[in-house]
């Protein structure tokens, strides 16, 4: 696939996929968020759903009819391609978010296993995990669950052979080369290294998801005492 020219392919009657590549890659993913920002500006009625290397466009087919009342794929394709050339300040739409994390102990039961696998001390794992800048590549699996790109490759660790039936809300975890945060108590197979007291998804909030696709994220280590104090404010519970 030529990365300069994304492919546009129908998925369903009301959904097309714009593909920029087929790899989990920060540069390809940045193009996805860039395209999403342009399309949202130019075609606000088209819903954009970013993934690692592709963007889903969900539209109302009846809004794209030709004079004879038939769905006009050519007109939609031209509108999408023209929107991709739209001038928009993309960096301004991404937020910088710092996530406080209580690493290890009861909050990160797999931290020692991750350290052993990487041949590092737990202190080094925390130092490397907090040193990196991450990008929210996409949100999926559960409402508000961010798939973050940017993990130090030394920390990559396979998923657990036996997934847990219940991972506590706020758990910060590593699965392969990805790191992510469980927004609510869920079953999960990633390795748990810590826990944040922040609420990642709250339907009652004006902005229900703390993170948006494309946001830049850093982690900051906090103590168990700080976690308990912050969790009392955010109302995070098991």
């Amino acid at each position: 696939m030529n990365p300069a020219h994304p492919s546009l392919e129908p998925l369903a009657e009301d959904a097309w996929i714009l593909r920029f590549g087929d790899a989990m890659d920060v540069a390809i993913n940045a193009r996805v968020h860039d395209a999403a920002a342009r399309l949202r500006r130019a075609l606000p009625d088209v819903e954009c759903v970013p993934a690692y290397a592709s963007l889903l466009l969900r539209f109302e087919p009846s809004a794209w009819r030709d004079g004879g009342g038939r769905f006009d794929a050519v007109r939609l394709r031209e509108a999408v391609m023209s929107a991709l050339r739209h001038e928009v300040n993309v960096t301004a739409t991404a937020q910088d978010v710092i996530i406080p994390v209580w690493y290890g102990g009861a909050a990160g039961q797999d931290l020692e296993d991750v350290a052993a696998h990487a041949g590092l001390t737990t202190h080094d794992v925390i130092a490397r995990h907090t040193a990196a800048e991450y990008r929210v590549a996409m949100i999926g699996f559960a409402p508000g669950f961010p798939y973050l790109l940017g993990l130090d490759p030394a920390l990559a660790v396979p998923r657990r052979a036996q997934p847990r039936t219940r991972v506590p809300a706020g758990s910060v975890a590593i699965g392969g080369l990805q790191t992510g945060i469980y927004p609510q108590a869920l079953p999960g197979g990633w390795q748990l290294i810590g826990r944040t007291p922040l609420r990642l998804f709250d339907v009652a909030a004006a902005q229900p998801s703390l993170l948006q696709p494309g946001d830049r994220v850093r982690f900051r280590a906090i103590t168990e005492e700080e976690f308990t104090r912050l969790a009392a404010n955010t109302g995070l519970s098991e």
Partner: protein, 326 residues
């Protein structure tokens, strides 16, 4: 103004047209599995604002109406008795306060819709009164009915076409036949992005095999049991967005057709896409029913969807006229 849940049935949940616009935050649309049946149930009781209705699965609930209500049941024909009196399907009925509505099984089909005039008065969550069972978002904290629940009903004007305050059904209803699935005809399927990544026998088998709907199917996906389909070689894929109708092939070789509560992303090969016009029919297949596919083009899928929508709009207009002139 409420309904008391005496028995919840197998799975009953409030549903509307779904929660639009939040897929990029990991929250899919969800909503009624058989959207035409849901819209017609609302139309029959004179609702025009896309009110939530109760989606009933396979075995219905028992409900006590604490106030007068006008109801209609559409979708799969369910055995429904109001204080012992059988209610006609696809017909508006008046239930006086105190009526106990007992719903049993469905001989054919899997999902019925119970609409009440005025709708259910539950708070919308992110713009919808749909229950997302998977994400646990929506009415009743995102779960199905339980015994003891109270379902609040919105206050509404008395329907002028209700002439008596005793238990009765209107003398006219809809013919359900054009909207029912025969559980046999093949469903229209578009070729998926990874169709040709399957070996040739599997490419043919997708369109010739009779699959059986697994009992593990739910609002998230229809699991299709059959001779396993296989890829030419293993594929390392990264996740991308999925929508209802996307047919994925997990390593087991048994395809999964995603339904209303489709996850917003998926990482399995996509071998097909069920045409939108046939999603309500797939939603009406029961565990153990046969599912087979025939290939269609996007143009055919779109034409059939347009034709179905036109027929639905005509019927909605006729119902509205009939209620106005009554």
């Amino acid at each position: 103004m409420s309904i008391e849940v005496i028995k919840p049935g197998l799975l009953s949940s409030l549903q509307d047209a779904g929660r639009h616009g939040h897929a990029s935050l990991g929250l899919g649309r969800g909503g009624a599995m058989d959207l035409p049946a849901w819209r017609l149930a609302n139309a029959l009781v004179g609702n025009v604002h896309h009110e939530a209705a109760l989606e009933i699965t396979l075995a219905g609930p028992t409900l006590r109406f604490r106030c007068d209500a006008v109801i209609a049941l559409t979708g799969a024909i369910v055995d429904a008795r109001a204080d012992g009196e059988p209610l006609p399907p696809w017909t508006a009925c008046f239930l006086p306060a105190g009526t106990v509505l007992r719903m049993g099984g469905m001989r054919h089909g899997c999902r019925s819709y119970l609409a009440v005039r005025g709708g259910f008065d539950v708070a919308p969550v992110l713009g919808s009164r749909s229950t997302d069972l998977h994400a646990r978002v929506g009415p009743l904290e995102g779960r199905g009915l339980q015994a003891g629940d109270e379902l609040p009903m919105a206050t509404t004007d008395a329907a002028p076409w209700i002439r008596s305050r005793t238990l009765h059904a209107l003398r006219w209803g809809l013919d359900p036949q054009p909207w029912l699935d025969d559980a046999k005809a093949p469903l229209a399927l578009l070729r998926g992005h990874h169709h040709e990544a399957m070996d040739e026998a599997s490419q043919r088998a997708l369109f010739s095999q009779r699959f059986m709907l697994s009992k593990d199917s739910n609002r998230t996906g229809a699991r299709l049991d059959g001779s396993p389909l296989a890829l030419r070689q293993p594929l390392e894929l990264i996740s991308e967005a999925t929508v209802p109708g996307t047919v994925q092939l997990p390593p087991s070789g048994q395809p999964i057709a995603l339904l209303a509560e489709a996850p917003v992303t998926g990482g399995y090969p996509r071998i097909g896409q069920v045409a939108a016009v046939d999603l309500p029919r797939l939603a009406q297949r029961r565990p153990g029913d046969t599912v087979s596919f025939r290939e269609v083009t996007f143009d055919e899928a779109m034409d059939r969807l347009d034709a179905r929508e036109e027929a639905l709009q005509r019927l909605l207009r006729r119902i509205a006229q009939r209620l106005e002139s009554a």
